[in-house]
């Protein structure tokens, strides 16, 4: 067993490495993905990989891209471990010869950025939301709005509601800290005060102490600068502590909704606009396909990585049209900036900005009757 594995290890490594350098058109387009496939946050890995799988299968069913099939190679960073990310990236590079990698989580993405630069690998991030990720690599692009931008938008809406005293519960990680820093000047400039800022370690379920301090600060709005599944827990606990104030955040996944249950009613959040209705046929098609395939509600993160694969497919078409060796970060980056507009599963088109972040429409949603009801578009200033 062990010997066979070892043989496979080396044989596969050398053979494929050699093959990857042959012609401009590969036999198959390999798309690597480094996700949280195990560990504490493996829910993210599950939904992201499901989105990728759905997109790859849909595209291949229609004959692939440029007549060439896509192949997704899912790797694991064990829920945000930088070192695991580097190992995974090395595997993708050496064994699979992948030149396109979908990435997630800040630490592993930061850690693989130098390797992406050295090897001209296109990185597409649909999960990590830290400011730091912008420009981490020459070839990194982001297809979700930055946490700080969403936070500012949420704060602006809170102001328009007349709120003055904001209490904050935030993830003690880069994404949470980024929003805290971004919102503070916006909020205070408009005359508001921030009455409490309480940190919650990612993956902690017991947040009663933080909730008690938020309650004692007597805010007129509570902001949740955090992500699944803590959003659901926080909403639930805030309500159970008898707090009636509006709660606003930057995300509300199906997982969160399940945890909060009926206590989630009235929760407000600002996020990339998504509505699976007839008005947005691709959104609807994705949502129906996802539900049929996985027997679960479509998740925001699944949509992002689903979309990511389609962006890659489109880029491959455009880059190929440029001629020459095109399956690499440099050529694909050039093709992307030649025309930064792409169809979005969120409806309409998104446009990549010079900093590599796709500009998407941001909407305000409210939880009503266990549905995320779209309220209005919000301009992120």
């Amino acid at each position: 067993m062990m010997r066979k594995l070892l043989l496979g290890f080396f044989a596969a490594a050398f053979a494929i490495h050699a093959a990857a350098q042959s012609a401009n058109d590969p036999k198959v387009y390999k798309i690597g993905a480094i996700l949280a496939m195990s560990g504490q946050a493996s829910w993210y890995g599950t939904v992201m990989s499901q989105g990728i799988k759905q997109a790859v299968e849909e595209i291949n069913a229609k004959g692939g891209v440029n007549g060439i099939p896509l192949e997704a190679i899912i790797e694991d960073h064990k829920s945000g471990n930088a070192q695991e990310g580097v190992s995974a990236m090395n595997r993708l590079l050496s064994i699979h010869g992948a030149k396109i990698v979908l990435t997630s989580f800040t630490a592993p993405t930061m850690a693989i950025a130098p390797l992406a630069d050295q090897n001209q690998v296109l990185l597409l991030n649909g999960g990590g939301v830290s400011n730091n990720l912008v420009g981490a690599s020459k070839y990194i692009f982001h297809i979700r709005s930055l946490a700080a931008d969403l936070g500012r938008a949420a704060a602006q809406h809170a102001q328009s509601m007349g709120a003055k005293r904001m209490a904050v519960l935030h993830w003690k990680n880069d994404a949470g800290d980024n929003i805290v820093q971004a919102v503070k000047p916006v909020w205070e400039k408009a005359g508001g005060t921030i009455v409490a800022v309480e940190a919650v370690p990612q993956g902690s379920t017991n947040i009663d102490t933080q909730v008690a301090k938020v309650r004692a600060a007597n805010p007129d709005i509570v902001a949740l600068w955090m992500f699944a599944p803590e959003v659901g827990i926080a909403v639930k606990r805030l309500r159970e502590f008898g707090m009636k104030q509006p709660i606003i955040g930057v995300e509300y996944t199906a997982n969160d909704a399940k945890i909060a249950g009926t206590l989630g009613e009235g929760y407000l959040f600002v996020n990339d606009f998504f509505q699976a209705s007839a008005e947005f046929p691709w959104s609807q098609q994705f949502a129906q396909g996802y539900e049929k395939r996985y027997n679960a509600k479509p998740e925001f993160y699944a949509a992002n990585y689903y979309e990511g694969v389609y962006v890659v497919a489109e880029l491959l078409k455009r880059a190929r049209a440029q001629g020459g060796d095109y399956v690499n970060g440099e050529a694909m980056k050039k093709a992307l900036y030649a025309n930064p507009k792409f169809d979005s599963v969120y409806g309409g088109q998104m446009q990549f900005q010079p900093n590599g972040v796709a500009f998407k429409r941001v909407g305000l949603f409210k939880v009503e009757d266990a549905q995320n009801k779209f309220q209005k578009y919000i301009e992120v200033r």
Binding site: N206, A212, P229, E240, I259, L263
Partner: protein, 288 residues
């Protein structure tokens, strides 16, 4: 001042939770001296069993919890019989058993993720009742956490002090060598404490399922806190484990009164550090 009262209530509630963890982990660890890391996934498994009985079998919550407790006890016994006993028979040093336990932790955590999926599991329960006590608020689930500790601690105390087997367990936790000399059947006793300890551990697990939902990795924090409670209280003392749990809960909660919450875990551990510096044998152990 209102905040202090609320933090005190929270501290007592969380303290009860930690005390249950300390009690169950301490029962196993104190008696067998097995560093039972796999306590973590067994704890999660109990919560998942409760969820499964409630969501898939449609049992009422109390029955589902009983199912979870039973499943926990069975899993605990299997764990001892299939994993630890063979190691003990081979005369493995405690550290080797510790790493084997860690292997089981990795195995089970991932198995739970595969079998049940990675999303958070919640049970359909009526919304928790909310009680207001002056400026402090608590829910019926939190009340249940405190009540569970009281009931279990009392029942355990009766069992340990009134039955022959219970007294044997106490003798063993107090002095493992002594029990062997006196001729107590240590294997039967190990079976018993694994069943009992795992069943007790299932109670806080089910309560957390109702309170916050269950995830495959929920057990890591649980075994960690249980272990810490046992050591703070003094190894070999179940009373100490309960006291250690409360100390932990109260420090974690009240400590945040004036200190920013990003230091929460740090406060608890700085206190621990100081306690052990001045009372190396643990807070409540009489032994030097």
């Amino acid at each position: 001042m209102d905040l202090v009262l609320q933090l005190l209530v929270n501290g007592l509630v969380n303290g009860s939770h930690y005390a249950l963890l300390g009690l169950s982990f301490g029962l196993i660890f104190g008696t067998t001296r097995i560093t039972h890391f796999a306590y973590g996934p067994l704890y999660a498994l109990s919560a998942y069993a409760c969820w499964w009985a409630s969501a898939k079998l449609g049992l009422p919550l109390a029955a589902a919890a009983a199912f979870g407790i039973g499943a926990g006890a069975v899993a605990g016994v299997l764990c001892y019989v299939l994993l630890y006993r063979p190691f003990e028979r081979a005369g493995s040093p405690p550290l080797v058993i510790l790493i084997a336990s860690l292997g089981l932790l990795i195995l089970l955590e991932n198995a739970i993720g595969i079998v049940f999926g990675t999303d958070t599991k919640v049970v359909a329960a009526p919304p928790a009742g909310i009680f207001v006590l002056g400026p402090a608020v608590f829910t019926s689930v939190q009340l249940a956490q405190v009540g569970a500790l009281a009931a279990i601690a009392l029942a355990l105390w009766l069992f340990l002090s009134r039955t022959r087997f219970g007294r044997a367990v106490l003798a063993q936790t107090d002095n493992p060598e002594m029990a062997t000399i006196v001729g107590i059947d240590t294997q039967r006793m190990s079976l018993l404490v694994f069943a009992l300890g795992s069943a007790i551990a299932a109670v806080p697990a089910c309560l957390v399922l109702v309170k916050d939902g269950a995830t495959a990795h929920m057990g890591f924090v649980a075994v960690f806190m249980g272990f810490v409670a046992v050591v703070v209280g003094g190894i070999g003392s179940l009373r100490g484990a309960v006291a250690g749990g409360y100390a932990l809960g109260l420090v974690e909660s009240l400590g945040l009164w004036k200190i920013p919450s990003e230091w929460q875990s740090t406060i608890a551990f700085v206190v621990l550090f100081l306690v052990l510096l001045f009372r190396p044998q643990g807070l409540f152990s009489g032994r030097q």
